[in-house]
Symmetry: C2
Subunit: 466 residues, 2 copies
């Protein structure tokens, strides 16, 4: 996608008035150098960068309120920035504006071990949170791969490898504080595990990609660290057999914690990158969480499913280092893909379909990739019917970009035709705006009504989702 295709209008007069005010209020915590502004559009997307006009390094909700009030007065965009791991251009500034850097709001505010919850500032990363939780015997399970911030994960409704067991951010955020368009901070819910008190504003802000307000704290559900974590792999002669093993696993209610599919091209890439010797066939990587007895039971039940579907014998272990070795291919999948052609750029896209159509969607997509001659391995969160294609391309070659974008359009149409969605976990951002209308039609009008009601001057992350 070319920069001009995703550019928006700039309010030059508002910006001219605003920047000196931010400099006066925030001093060295307000930065306008090109290097700093450029860093705040750094993402893993192939989309062109669109720099903000300045970056405020916020340290408190009061800072956020102050910036939002100033930006509202001068009608200048506000773009929250976590760590820059979003994939669909969520932190670009197509109309310019002010990036809010949350690295100074990265603390754990409180942990309530008896209630299995905690409240954090949005700038904390999931790995830092889990490090801070270690002594409590609890952990935060959602793992999108990247060491993303909790605020960013909340805003994109992230999920990842173990959503099949623990759900997505939608299921694991109990409450939020959010600075709204009038510069006030609201609390969307308290810490009770469930509530029927009014509209579910928590879920309205989860996945809103910063377009309705700026999140200033997140209350999360936590899980007990399992006594035992067991993992293993098995391979199949066809994608279809691998997917049918997944469907049966889910239908039998085996509480698998992760069940990941790598296609043959992805396994080949991983073998080359990490010096592994996995058979270059569709492969499932599986993990079980529980007591020793429970994990034994789950593994035996899963092994029976694999045998019934004609897979290779299921090898698994509860030994942490052996498990890490078995799972190494999965963990390095992204880097292994990039290593296939280090000189190229990468477009990572995701779709999600009802699980019964997972095999169809993957097989048809593989055929499309082969027809195009792309280097484009597939990794899937199979238990949810969600998969990623990483397409290697030269982002500076317009023809190359057009061919890949046409492939993505076909992939999304394929997922929609199977009852699926154009994004299971990456969000709409800039990259998937064209597909949202195709997917939800009249509902997008309702979303626009909500956006207009809560952000009448369109200051919150404009140019995203719509």
């Amino acid at each position: 996608m070319r920069a001009d295709a995703i550019a928006g209008p700039r309010n030059e007069a508002g910006l001219k008035a605003l920047l000196p005010l931010l400099a006066a209020q925030f001093g060295s915590r307000f930065q306008t150098s090109e290097a700093v502004r450029g860093h705040h559009t750094h993402t893993t997307t192939y989309l062109p960068r669109q720099l903000p006009d300045g970056v405020v390094f916020v340290e408190s909700a009061d800072d956020v309120k102050a910036v939002v009030r100033l930006c509202a007065t001068h009608r200048v965009p506000v773009i929250p920035f976590g760590i820059g791991s979003s994939l669909e251009g969520q932190v670009n500034a197509p109309s310019g504006g002010i990036s809010l850097d949350f690295s100074g709001m990265a603390s754990v505010i409180e942990v309530n071990p008896d209630d299995l919850d905690c409240t954090v500032q949005p700038g904390i990363t999931r790995e830092s949170l889990n490090a801070a939780l270690r002594d409590t015997g609890l952990f935060f399970p959602i793992d999108p791969g990247a060491n993303a911030t909790i605020g960013g994960m909340t805003s994109t409704r992230a999920s990842g490898t173990n959503a099949v067991r623990y759900g997505t951010m939608k299921d694991n955020v109990l409450a939020l504080t959010v600075v709204t368009a009038n510069g006030e901070e609201i609390l969307t819910a308290h810490r009770a595990r469930k509530s029927s008190a009014g509209y579910d504003l928590t879920r309205l802000f989860v996945g809103a990609e910063g377009t309705l307000g700026v999140i200033t704290s997140v209350t999360l559900r936590l899980q007990g660290i399992p006594d035992v974590i067991a993992g293993g792999t098995c391979h199949f002669d066809s994608i279809d057999a691998a997917c049918r093993a997944v469907i049966m696993t889910i239908q039998l209610g085996i509480p698998v914690a992760r069940i990941e599919l790598l296609d043959a091209m992805q396994v080949r890439a991983c073998n080359a990158y990490s010096g592994l010797t996995h058979p270059e066939k569709p492969t499932l990587f599986v993990e079980f969480h529980g007591s020793a007895a429970s994990v034994d039971l789950q593994s035996a039940e899963f092994a029976a499913v694999v045998a019934e579907m004609g897979g290779s014998p299921f090898r698994w272990t509860a030994d942490a280092s052996e498990r890490a070795q078995l799972w190494k291919a999965r963990h390095n999948a992204y880097y292994a893909c990039r290593a296939l052609a280090p000189e190229l750029d990468a477009l990572t896209t995701d779709v999600c379909v009802p699980i019964s159509r997972f095999a169809d969607c993957v097989v048809e997509t593989q055929k499309d990739i082969a027809d195009c001659g792309f280097l484009a391995p597939i990794v899937g969160h199979a238990g949810d019917g969600n998969f990623h294609v990483l397409v290697l391309l030269d982002a500076k070659n317009d023809a190359d970009v057009e061919r890949v974008e046409a492939f993505v359009a076909r992939l999304n149409a394929r997922a929609l035709s199977m009852g699926g969605t154009c994004t299971g976990e990456h969000g709409i951002g800039q990259g998937k705006k064209a597909f949202l209308d195709a997917e939800l039609g009249g509902s997008v009008g309702l979303m626009r009504q909500v956006k207009a009601a809560l952000d009448p001057d369109n200051i919150f992350n404009p140019g995203k989702i719509f």
Copy 2:
């Protein structure tokens, strides 16, 4: 609460113009007799009835669209009616208007066994749905006690006994179709297990109590019927010990399917009603779902927790009729309460607190009940920190009503002071409007903005939530 305290303005001119149009369009499917109108405010609440001006027996989404368009044109309220089991006045018509009876929209539209989902019309009850699903090996788990409709359960964000294992309606609705204020039907999502495509309109309508639109179909997640269902009971010398057993069970990650607390007064009522001989002590009723081996394991782990907390030996069985016998007291709890004083009315209320405060909240509430001299047993969905108090009162005696409402106000304040919510599963309706502001403050303003944006003429179930 007296009728005048919950009455709203009536648009007499609009009603006068509308009623003949509905009669002309719907013939005998439009009813205005007092008996029919009265039936459509029948609920299990103590609140006074407020009759609609007419009832349309809808049979299709087109019927719903037609009624909404006519009501929008004439600015007359639209009040969806499922089966009348709501508890906070959700189906009352404080400003008059048209009740939509969904008994003629009670079909299963499709079942997708491979995807563990189904789509139904909103008028189907959960028991009818489960009867229809029986041959598929799947079931819909949410069980609020009453045989409520799926539309009603969606609109109140219902949950019940097994939410501790399977979540609430928020977690089990995949997608909705909804008729909005312009009379158009929108689809909020497709059937993929997860999506990050735009705002989560599904969750916005779940729990909106019919104030944002009228639901015309619901797509639900289903679960495999467990191979084995095991159940049992145990009692404790104190509420505190019973609650600590629950906390430990949750913290250990034992995947209990139901864990219900009955206080001593409730056990006494159940013994009297059903001729049982449970020790009249705080008692836990527990259920496990899984394979035979998994259920054995869970039961043994739970028995160890009970022993550590000084409870009675945990008696359990996987035999269906023995389990039904063990659970009989829990199943009849409501009727047993009513039988304590059949001449009185009942107010059923619910609060939900973080589980670490569950014991405190129940103990303080018991003391309050004793100080008031109420007949008011407690039943709790302990695993979620959610409990109900059923207070017997004479609803025609204003002084009695005032004393009970003061008790409910103290109960809600107590739950809020412990980080909880004024309603875990019944919703706000008319009965809890006063407490929503105390609970969520500034967020209520945001909810009002959403309401005004999506229902500018306030035709959808006015006088509820706000």
